[in-house]
């Protein structure tokens, strides 16, 4: 599986065309969001700042400086490395390696068929099985994925959206089989369909039934799995699609607002689900802007929850978030430079008070990470945590003239975007009008033009280019995963009770056609080994599929 691949400068240019000349760096005087930076900042820039109102101590409303009074001294961020490839057995192996190397949380990357609710034997799955993540089509695959891991001993984040309730059902049934009480099960599903419509585009059903699935998960977990984080409202993908930092902040939090509103409209008390909402931001390259973004996010959300939604429980006011260093910033050229990029980005996330962190691997512009590269990425976090002293003081840059100016600026710009989206009628309506998608496409094109004009330097690609050969090993997922998963699926179908599966799927369809919570019929279907594709197709039968109108 792991091959040593010689990556030479020629293969970075496989067409052997004369490439555009390297560009000289131009000085950056704006942030990635276009905010013009002064040469320096001083006390007059903060003349409007009121400590109690705008910052307050860590652990105190509005939580600008963090949600924990003792910062990382009291609770270090979770080192949660995203991993998944090939068969469940191969990924299980990687999880054991990460745990042994000191990782403190699990994070599952699923392949495209799983993300899109299709079984390995679906014609559209051909060529895709196990390539971007692990292939999981049933409870049986989930059992193999967590072999030797007791669900009461770990917290698991599953990056799954349109088919999130099905994968959650598999995880809960696995816990049941292990004798683990659902009241103790701790983890997260990403379950953020709005950002799929906006950026990542891995949706199945139209917006409104998709939102219903999410509020069903809120209601179910509030009662049956109170430690489970039912959603990870994400900006990471919005940023990877090309947005600015401000757009990432604004669209993410506005998505959060939409989910809270839909939860309330579904009849739920806000304090029964808001404490278990979590967030997920990109940790990108513009160092100080990223720190300001994290602080602005906490401040904005606390006000939204207390003043817009009148939440009473202070846990509803506290924004908890995971960060991932920016995959899109990594380069295939001079790949070892990526270790530096990841380090600075991780540092920004820590200075911003992230509660959980994934660091990307040096080879990820080329392939999924090798185990050595993944270990080095984890070590990056461990060195920051245990050698730099940064964790000893909460919000170490609080009070900085620059950081407080940027925090305020980002908050103001985000609020402008909220108004624009409210004027569209809400985020679902804004998506249907193509508003956030257009904003992102404009930013992405502008950014690429900045790269190619030299306004934004990319070391090793547009500047400081060299012709040196570098040999780095990369992970190669071959086609054998497909056959293995097809064989497993066939075995499963032979061994299970076909009639019970058919009846369970009928119940799934009936629930989808009505208003009862979808989780119970999905749990029952999972217990009798209905496959992911079968459950998702049952819902396709009722709700149809969604596809966006293509626009450039």
């Amino acid at each position: 599986m792991e091959r040593r691949v010689k990556v030479s400068s020629l293969s970075r240019n496989p067409n052997k065309v004369k490439e555009s000349e390297s560009t000289a760096c131009k000085k950056q005087t704006v942030t990635s969001s276009g905010y013009p930076l002064a040469p320096f900042y001083e006390s007059d820039d903060l003349s409007d700042l009121d400590y109690q109102r705008d910052l307050n101590d860590p652990g105190e409303f509005p939580y600008t400086r963090g949600i924990h009074p003792t910062g990382y001294r009291g609770k270090l961020w979770t080192m949660r490395q995203f991993a998944g490839f090939g068969t469940p057995e191969e990924t299980n192996n990687r999880y054991h390696q990460l745990i042994a190397a000191g990782g403190t949380g699990l994070s599952v990357a699923f392949d495209l068929p799983t993300l899109m609710g299709r079984d390995p034997d679906d014609p559209l799955s051909a060529g895709e099985i196990g390539k971007c993540g692990v292939s999981v089509a049933s409870l049986s695959d989930m059992e193999r994925l967590f072999a030797g891991i007791r669900l009461s001993d770990v917290t698991t984040s599953m990056t799954i959206n349109s088919s999130a309730p099905m994968l959650l059902a598999m995880y809960l049934v696995l816990a049941e089989r292990q004798g683990v009480d659902w009241q103790e099960v701790n983890g997260t599903i990403q379950n953020d369909i709005l950002k799929e419509f906006i950026a990542q585009k891995e949706y199945i059903y139209p917006p409104r039934p998709s939102m219903r699935l999410i509020t069903d998960v809120f209601a179910f977990c509030g009662e049956h799995a109170p430690k489970w984080n039912t959603i990870s409202v994400s900006g990471y993908h919005i940023r990877e699609a090309g947005s600015t930092a401000v757009q990432e902040l604004a669209f993410t939090l506005r998505d959060g607002i939409e989910y809270v509103q839909y939860g309330i409209d579904a009849g739920l008390d806000v304090d029964t689900f808001a404490p278990r909402m979590s967030f997920f931001f990109n940790a990108h390259s513009d160092f100080f802007e990223e720190i300001a973004k994290c602080r602005a996010a906490r401040k904005i959300w606390s006000h939204v929850m207390r003043n817009r939604f009148h939440a009473k429980d202070e846990r509803s006011w506290k924004l908890r978030f995971h960060s991932q260093t920016a995959g899109g910033s990594l380069t295939g050229q001079q790949a070892y430079n990526n270790v530096m990029r990841t380090t600075w980005q991780a540092l920004a996330a820590v200075m911003g008070g992230t509660n959980s962190l994934h660091t990307c691997s040096l080879d990820e512009a080329l392939a999924l990470p090798t185990s050595d590269a993944a270990t080095l990425a984890l070590r990056t976090q461990q060195i920051i945590a245990h050698e730099t002293g940064i964790t000893e003081v909460a919000d170490p840059l609080g009070g900085s003239y620059l950081i407080e100016t940027l925090t305020r600026e980002m908050e103001n710009k985000a609020n402008s975007y909220f108004k624009a989206i409210d004027d569209c009628g809400g985020m679902v309506e804004a998506i249907e009008q193509g508003y956030p998608q257009r904003e992102i496409a404009e930013s992405a094109y502008r950014d690429q033009k900045c790269v190619e004009s030299g306004e934004r330097a990319v070391v090793g690609v547009t500047t400081f280019v060299d012709d040196g050969d570098a040999e780095i090993p990369t992970l190669y997922i071959d086609e054998s995963t497909e056959q293995k998963q097809l064989d497993q699926l066939q075995l499963l179908k032979r061994q299970r009770d076909t009639d019970r599966v058919a009846r369970a799927l009928e119940q799934v369809r009936a629930a989808a056609d009505g208003t009862t919570n979808m989780m119970e019929p999905l749990l029952e279907a999972v217990r009798v080994y209905a496959t992911l594709g079968e459950m998702c197709n049952a819902l396709r039968d009722v709700w149809g599929e969604y596809e966006e109108i293509p626009m450039i």
């Binding site: 091959r3 691949v5 010689k6 990556v7 293969s11 970075r12 496989p14 067409n15 065309v17 490439e19 555009s20 495209l112 068929p113 993300l115 899109m116 299709r118 559209l124 799955s125 051909a126 060529g127 895709e128 390539k131 971007c132 799929e196 990542q200 585009k201 891995e202 949706y203 990877e240 699609a241 090309g242 899109g328 990594l330 380069t331 295939g332 050229q333 512009a365 080329l366 392939a367 496409a441 992405a444 094109y445 690429q448 033009k449 790269v451 190619e452 990319v458 690609v461 990369t474 190669y476 997922i477 086609e479 596809e547 966006e548 109108i549 293509p550 626009m551 450039i552």
Partner: protein, 152 residues
């Protein structure tokens, strides 16, 4: 051939070379990450080409049908998912079956080095990996396109 026929033939060739290059940008397979496809589509459009973007989750059959319907000279495939060894040969085969073997095939995305020869062998000519510049894609298409791609 008579002199006048030669002149007519030359005139027609000039017209073909000067007509606007038509490019279909396609996302095939299940992947929805479209940043690269959209950025390249805009770059080609801004360089004066006509661009048809298929949108997401197109099968090889749908893509080739679009190329046929749109009388396109170039097909630009965005593939980040690892499914290129499945998608590219199928598209190349379909183009050949429909008499469109002159359509220039360009792929952008994540292609392991070891797979590049396999893609070349089935007829993929342009391969653009991470770090590629928009202008390089524009130049490559201008230099390699064969204007009369669709046989009548």
């Amino acid at each position: 051939m008579l002199a006048i026929e030669c002149l007519l033939e030359m005139g027609m060739q000039c017209e073909r070379v000067m007509r606007t290059i038509r490019v279909v940008i396609a996302k095939s397979g299940l992947d929805g990450h479209d940043r690269g496809a959209k950025v390249i589509a805009r770059a080609l459009r801004d360089s004066g080409m006509e661009v048809i973007y298929t949108g997401l989750r197109q099968t090889p059959e749908q893509i080739v049908e679009t190329v046929l319907q749109e009388d396109a000279d170039v097909i630009g495939l965005s593939i980040l998912s690892g499914a290129h060894n499945h998608i590219c040969p199928r598209i190349a085969e379909l183009l050949k079956m429909k008499g469109m073997k002159d359509v220039l095939i360009v792929v952008g995305g994540i292609i392991p080095d070891v797979d590049i020869p396999k893609l070349r062998a089935v007829g993929v000519e342009g391969i653009f990996l991470p770090g590629s510049l928009m202008q390089d894609v524009v130049n490559f298409i201008r230099e390699h396109v064969r204007p009369s791609a669709v046989s009548k």
